[in-house]
Subunit: 161 residues, 2 copies
DNA sequence: TATTGTTATACTCTATAACTATA
DNA sequence: TATAGTTATAGAGTATAACAATA
């Protein structure tokens, strides 16, 4: 955690205490957790010179080398134009490379370099430790429930979104 | 949803199927949901000319008018320098105003203008509808459980972060 | 000395539109 | 015509450091 970014000391108006629906309270708690979680994980990645988005790219390619930029854009839920800049950066860093597709000369397929794979493996343990420390507060039964709920919620997001 | 940002059609390597710990699977599902959720809610706010961060400011001030910029920074988990830009924008839009603190001439306290309060009230129903549509997939019992777990996870983030 | 807010600078991520080269 | 990737442009958010005014 950077020195200028401290955690709140004083109690501020807590939205969670509102007399609102449980849907709303859960959503607010989700958004607040999102901010915290993102920052926790980002701080852990900064030591490796990685942003969360870049780590996301590495992890995606770790599990599915050779996808196209368009597919990565759909997976990350960003536009293909965004993927260009994202890949430009990780390619400049030497972690990912674009290779022409022999069958369709329009497409470029993305592959991890050895350095990228190595970095992914190096950065993962720290992320795992953080995740263990945070999510380890819940029992395995709770984690299973949570996982199920999150998957259903994501499905709801995708369908109507 | 913008026309160039489509939802994924093809099945891509799904990290959730990894033979990993439930902590990890839950975390991955959480991060994916949070990305989706952010985009859903952002898209809903764009119609009102608001970003999620700006709506967050309005909602915070709705429930706690008169906080200082430093307090807002701690609440939003960003640096005070970031708050300057954030408030510059919502102040320029006429939704928030800075007022000098009579007791401490260093601090500036933040207040919603009438326009800001009106906008917050106008933008809220759409957000509520979205939240209802997504989180309404879960039963009230599940939502209570989820809420409890999210609060515990956020606490875990804050403590060790 | 410490704190509040500010300015200055730079980088990442994102959205949009127009463009190219292929198909 | 449609698609994959690119370029160009703009704006928002963030991190960092140095600064002014005040306590």
């Amino acid at each position: 955690m950077s020195p200028t970014r401290k955690s709140a000391k004083r109690e501020l108006p807590v939205l969670n205490d509102d007399p609102r629906s449980w849907e709303f309270r859960a959503a607010v708690a989700m958004l607040r957790l999102q901010g915290r979680l993102e920052r926790c994980l980002s701080d852990g990645l900064a030591a490796h010179g990685l942003t969360l988005a870049q780590f996301d790219v590495l992890m995606t390619l770790c599990h599915g080398d050779g996808i196209t930029q368009q597919e990565l854009a759909e997976w990350l839920l960003v536009t293909k134009a965004n993927v260009v800049g994202l890949i430009d950066r990780v390619e400049a860093a030497g972690w990912v490379e674009r290779r022409a597709d022999p069958d369709d000369r329009r497409v470029k397929r993305l592959y991890l370099t050895n350095a990228g794979r190595k970095l992914a493996r190096k950065a993962q343990p720290g992320q795992h430790t953080l995740i263990q420390r945070i999510f380890g507060r819940l029992s395995e039964a709770e984690l299973r429930q949570l996982h199920g709920m999150l998957v259903r919620l994501e499905k709801a997001c995708s369908e109507g979104g």
